[in-house]
């Protein structure tokens, strides 16, 4: 987002730790999400990132877009590496081998690196209770390798491995509910966010990193390349995903659910699908099927969000 600081002069710090010059596609809302998260993490942080779009665009030797210490080891282990960083720093400070200092440790991965291949390492790290925050940048497919379906790809979406064929019309499974899986670990903080709502994302990232123990933030990161939408519409489609209830924004704080964005009436999902290349082939029946599911999920979520946030 160009001139982000003009729009949010007070709410977001000016300092950049995910710097310009990286090679993300035009209109990449994931790069924007990383940028906002890094503003929350700040200088005193260490990032472990999985293989994926953000890793590839940000670290071609001998250059780097990272102004904070950053490590990439492999695809499926960002959470494990982050937990090692946390444990290592903790014991070195405890033993007096490093001066005491508050350092935020973050693990970052895409939806494939989180919901598919990295799920085991993430579950282990959450269960062990490391003091770190895991950010999942969900662009709803393996975009880095050429738009293959993941378990986070929504029902009906066309990808290169769930193509809109004559017999099978795109993805045949429903999006895996990763935030619920994270919350099932009884960790103190889980949130969903979207870079189309930068202040909300910044606040949630800040809250997550300040929470002692493991925290999980799941960020819908619109991918114009993979979703087959014009780069200039990335922010708009993020908003449509939230306003239609396809990707609701909420927090789970110590097991209590709080809705971040409520709507008197959700937009119909067909408004979200309009102009969306990956949903172009959907029949009316399929759209209705999705609408039913989205409405039902929204009601279920609202039923959980009976709490009113204090303060």
């Amino acid at each position: 987002m160009r001139n982000l600081e003009l729009y949010s002069p007070v709410l977001l710090p000016r300092e950049e730790y995910f710097c310009s010059g990286h090679r993300a596609c035009q209109g990449c809302a994931e790069a924007l999400a990383v940028r906002i998260v890094m503003k929350a993490l700040g200088r005193n942080s260490v990032v472990a990132m999985a293989t994926g779009c953000m890793e590839i665009v940000s670290s071609p030797l001998p250059t780097t877009a990272w102004a904070v210490p950053w490590i990439h080891v492999a695809f499926e282990n960002a959470a494990a590496v982050a937990s090692g960083i946390e444990a290592g720093l903790k014991i070195l400070m405890k033993k007096g081998k490093l001066p005491r200092k508050k350092i935020h440790v973050a693990g970052m991965a895409g939806d494939g690196g989180t919901a598919d291949i990295g799920l085991q390492a993430l579950s282990g790290a959450l269960e062990r209770g490391h003091n770190f925050t895991y950010f999942c940048y969900d662009n709803e497919a393996y975009m880095n390798t050429g738009i293959q379906r993941s378990s986070a790809t929504p029902f009906g979406a066309a990808t290169t491995t769930s193509p809109a064929g004559k017999r099978i019309p795109g993805q045949t499974t429903w999006k895996k509910n990763m935030p619920a899986i994270a919350a099932a670990h009884d960790i103190p903080y889980v949130a969903t966010a979207c870079s189309s709502y930068p202040e909300d994302l910044f606040e949630k990232a800040s809250r997550a990193i300040e929470t002692p123990g493991p925290a999980y933030v799941h960020i819908l990161s619109v991918c114009p390349t993979g979703w087959r939408i014009p780069p200039s519409t990335a922010i708009k489609y993020g908003r449509l995903a939230v306003e239609s209830g396809a990707f609701p924004l909420y927090e789970v704080v110590n097991g209590e659910y709080f809705l971040s964005k409520d709507f008197l009436k959700l937009l119909p999902v067909k408004e979200y699908f309009k102009g969306h290349g990956r949903f172009r082939h959907l029949t009316e029946d399929m759209v209705n099927q999705i609408q039913e599911r989205v409405s039902a999920d929204w009601e279920k979520l609202k039923a959980k969000c009976v709490n009113v946030k204090k303060g």
Partner: protein, 390 residues
């Protein structure tokens, strides 16, 4: 310090604890288990101030080790067979990231069929992962090589991971008289870990960047050079270990090689059994000797060539198979090392002791007979799986 009878795994754990290790990440896998169990005990009892990270898989064990080593914590793990296979992806990366992780690799066979017993098929699967790799043959060597491994791995000029290979069960689970190091010995030998780079906000670095074809080859060359150049530091560490303990270790050990026409070549525990066989054969008037490879990576070409000079026949015992290939991985490397020698000995390869099948002194004697027969037939390029039925 007096020798004390103790299980080798327990002694290895005591040695790791004496090294003031900061982080241990491990997943249970037989026969490695006792090492990490005892480390967990030492941490739980407050005898070792360390983070013990009981991970959910071997893959995560090595991944956590990458994280802990990257922030500058002295890092240890231990594994075997299937666990090694699962963590192998990250082993390659740990070496290329130049992270000085130390691992006790308790060797046992790779499945299938599933077996928990000892051979070298696990370690041979990661031969080219870029780690420094040594083989020990008794409990004392195991204990001595824990501080040695940290010392070499963490040397700023090396900064590479080290695997200390010890045979599963026949070494890891036996009780031997072992001298543990004193704190004074450790202080003299092992300096604190001071990493070249660490992940810390005071001096941000990017680790694990990706390389396009125009830079990838150069990074691999640099990594290979680092491994090759670790050898003088390895030798120096052994020299200083001698000063501290009085025990001498070399990259290649020899036994009764003087005047020997036939040389047995072993790695790991089999060396001790082979020594007994050599004694017996010498008594029978056979000019037989023994060469034991301790350093596997970086490979000690010079020392090996010197050790086998003058021999007519090498009988190389492998404990792994290269399926459809030249036999065993050790023999094929040794043949390669000798290819340009002026008067190379003939090399006969026997594969023995797979998945814990016992190899006794008289087996070596029979192997020598069979090797001679192979040479007489002119079939020394072939290999034999020793003692196999059917």
């Amino acid at each position: 310090m007096a020798r004390e009878g103790m299980e080798v795994s327990i002694a290895a754990a005591e040695a790791v604890a004496l090294c003031d290790t900061d982080c241990i990440a491990a997943y249970p896998i037989t026969p490695q288990t006792h090492i990490v169990e005892h480390l967990a005990e030492l941490v739980a009892d407050g005898e070792l101030e360390a983070e013990f990270i009981p991970v959910e898989s071997e893959h995560s064990a090595m991944s956590v080790c990458c994280g802990t080593a990257a922030v500058g914590a002295r890092t240890f793990t231990s594994t075997s067979s299937q666990g090694l296979a699962l963590m192998s992806e990250i082993m390659f990366i740990a070496a290329s990231l130049r992270l000085p992780v130390v691992m006790a690799l308790v060797n046992r066979s790779l499945s299938g069929p599933l077996s928990i017993w000892n051979d070298h098929s696990d370690v041979m699967s990661v031969r080219d992962c870029g780690w420094i790799q040594v083989f020990v043959e008794d409990g004392q060597e195991t204990v001595d090589h824990m501080p040695w491994a940290f010392r070499v791995a963490e040397d700023p000029a090396v900064s590479l991971p080290v695997a200390v290979n010890l045979d599963g069960f026949i070494l890891s689970h036996v009780i031997e008289p072992i001298e543990l190091w004193t704190k004074e010995m450790m202080q003299k030998f092992l300096p604190p870990f001071s990493p070249v780079n660490r992940l810390h906000p005071d001096q941000p670095v990017t680790m694990g960047a990706f390389a396009m074809p125009d830079l990838f080859t150069e990074t691999k060359m640099a990594q290979n050079q680092a491994l090759i150049k670790s050898k003088p530091i390895i030798l120096k560490a052994w020299d200083e270990l001698l000063q501290v303990t009085g025990r001498r270790y070399r990259p290649v050990e020899t036994y009764q090689t003087e005047g020997a026409k036939i040389l047995l070549v072993t790695m790991g525990c089999l060396g001790q059994t082979a020594q007994l066989a050599v004694d017996a054969l010498r008594e029978e008037g056979e000019a037989v000797g023994l060469v034991k490879l301790r350093l596997w990576r970086p490979f000690p070409f010079e020392e090996f060539r010197k050790a086998v000079e003058g021999a007519e026949l090498l009988l190389v015992i492998d404990r792994a198979i290269s399926f459809g290939g030249p036999g065993g991985p050790v023999a094929s490397e040794l043949r390669n090392a000798l290819y340009h020698a002026k008067k190379p000995p003939r090399v006969v390869n026997m594969i023995a002791g797979l998945a814990g099948r016992d190899v006794q002194p008289n087996d070596f004697e029979q192997m020598v007979e069979q090797a001679k027969a192979k040479v007489a037939e002119g079939k020394e390029d072939d290999y034999l799986i020793y003692g196999v039925r059917g």
